[in-house]
């Protein structure tokens, strides 16, 4: 593994991503007046019914060192592929209840297409390449492990 010179940004946050954090992120971009378009993707924990039991929460864990490296590589790839002003990625670790947000991807560009294409690229890459694991917890204390499609 080649050591990268740029500092890696911390992606993981403990517990759910709060709407206030999203609002703060948006507000921080109002000084960047070359931005014309933002795209935001939010992953929310669903209360899926599986064999008659309802998902109450997902307990996220990760191979954090590798995950932060993968996030860094994905971010660099997005900056290479798309004309972006900036991009931010946050993912939960620990317990996120159904209805709460576990993933926040935020892209900004001069024009809409770049922001939207980049956001989609990032979401797909994160789901495919980052070693994050999700334990779906049911009411009766049983669980099952989530698998991305």
């Amino acid at each position: 593994m080649i050591k990268k010179d740029k500092p890696k940004k911390k992606v993981f946050v403990e517990g759910p991503i709060l709407p206030e954090k999203i609002a703060n992120s948006i507000a921080h971009h109002q000084v960047k007046t070359n931005i014309g378009a933002h795209d935001i993707f939010l992953g929310q924990v669903r209360a899926d019914e599986i064999d008659g039991k309802i998902v109450q929460a997902i307990d996220y864990s990760a191979y954090e060192d590798m995950a932060e490296e993968k996030f860094h590589e994905i971010r660099e790839a997005a900056f290479d592929k798309f004309e972006l002003t900036c991009l931010h990625i946050y993912h939960s670790k620990g317990i996120v209840k159904s209805g709460e947000i576990c993933l926040f991807v935020f892209t900004s560009s001069k024009h809409r297409n770049m922001a939207m294409d980049a956001c989609r690229f990032l979401v797909e890459e994160i789901k495919a390449k980052v070693p994050i694991f999700g334990k779906e917890l049911f009411e009766d204390d049983s669980h099952q492990w989530k698998v991305n499609k």
Binding site: Y60, Y63, L103, A128, P131, I132, G134, W145, N148
Partner: protein, 78 residues
């Protein structure tokens, strides 16, 4: 050879630990897989990938001494 092995997610339900140090012969990813299945036979029913020093490498490449090995079940980010 000594390898540090980390287990994640559902895999830990088979190994009953997150981490162990394994002394064994010089091995490839393929060989490591076989050794793990021998030690934890129920892993046979699981889908998993092995990362070496945080990367996926060819199954036939030899794993250097002191490598960090991770046994990873399917990803569920997002």
């Amino acid at each position: 050879m000594t390898y540090s092995i980390y287990y994640f997610g559902k895999i830990t339900e088979h190994t009953n630990c997150n981490y162990e140090r394994l002394n064994c012969e010089l091995s490839t990813v393929k060989g490591m897989k076989e050794a793990l299945l021998k030690k934890y036979p129920t892993l046979r029913n699981e889908t998993f990938k092995i990362a070496v020093n945080k990367n996926f490498i060819d199954e036939e490449i030899l794993i250097a001494n002191d490598s960090e090995i991770a046994v990873l079940p399917p990803f569920a980010g997002g």
